[in-house]
Subunit: 144 residues, 3 copies
């Protein structure tokens, strides 16, 4: 593995973790900074193209309940397609105040702009959820 | 830490994640490609030496139920013994459609062949399981 | 990202994982070796300054029950402040023999002494716990 690839993979891993930390704390501006201008965010309730649409999704997802959300992301597989393009797959678990709520898979396309790696496309799919939990209730309302 | 060690550690971490992604999707050929020819795979039900024996274990482990298995692997400790040999320890959690099913510890010996890192030995031990879950039922039949 | 930063981040990630592996196995001397002499460890029950105080915390935390503790740490965000100083944030889940017990957030300051990265400050905060679990019972006695 070449040095540039090691650095690229480290930057991608950092981007993935930062997304979760910003998201769990409702820091939407920092979250949006992680996306390319024309990025696409796909979730189980729809496809959002471009930063304005992604911003709207984040703002609309604000929910006074639960107070504390934690995304545990692991099993990160990264493939460097070029020195400015990579794909990544990873798993996430979401814990609320009650424990495990739902879990799923991220599939990402990452691009490097100058020194910065950004999401070009993020697909977040729920693989399972606790019956009666937060996600189960929201998904019933198509809000996840 | 030298550059070669950083690259080696990154390759080892990639190998560990790839094993889980291939395994969760039943991609046995890709999974086998991650092992050295004379590799050993140790699980709670036995020791499997060489790729043919490991292949047999994977094929025999196919189970129509549950549909979705997800291995969340984290807390990865890697020790580079030489520039072509490393050991790793990590924890895994397995979620089925019902949530957490079982969890355990991987202990690995990794070797580099040319540019590729492979499992020389993988030991997967279950540390706990949910009573009445998938693993608990299989382990009762010695199939895990 | 420069080569030194990639190496620093790898060393920090290693330090975080090693802490959990040593802790889960009760290897307190190895655990203490991960801290700087004047390090601070902050938990929900108090602040411990210097290695002797940290050692006392570890020894006092020994509990015959549960037998098996596993810390699953993921979503690691690392910021290199200088070539000998970094901060990190990560999430941990603790599983006992009964499954998920409690979970929380680490906030760390890491320093490099020569070739070795050490904890200068670690703050471990519990974000949630399973009612009636091990942490819930200990925290009731202010022992966590």
């Amino acid at each position: 593995m070449r040095d540039w690839e090691v650095a690229a993979r480290e930057a991608v891993r950092d981007l993935l973790a930062r997304y979760n930390f910003c998201g769990d704390r409702g820091r939407f501006e920092e979250l949006l900074d992680l996306f390319a201008e024309d990025a696409t965010l796909v979730t189980d309730v729809g496809t959002h193209v471009g930063k304005p649409a992604i911003r709207q999704l984040f703002v609309g997802a604000v929910d006074p309940e639960p107070e504390r959300i934690r995304h545990f992301t692991s099993t990160v597989v990264i493939d460097c397609v070029a020195d400015d393009r990579a794909t990544a797959r990873s798993y996430f678990q979401v814990l609320t105040g009650s424990g495990l709520d739902h879990w799923g898979t991220y599939r990402d396309v990452l691009v490097r702009l100058g020194d910065i790696w950004l999401f070009s496309r993020r697909e977040a799919r729920v693989d399972g959820m606790v019956p009666g939990g937060w996600a189960a209730r929201r998904l019933g309302r198509r809000e996840l």
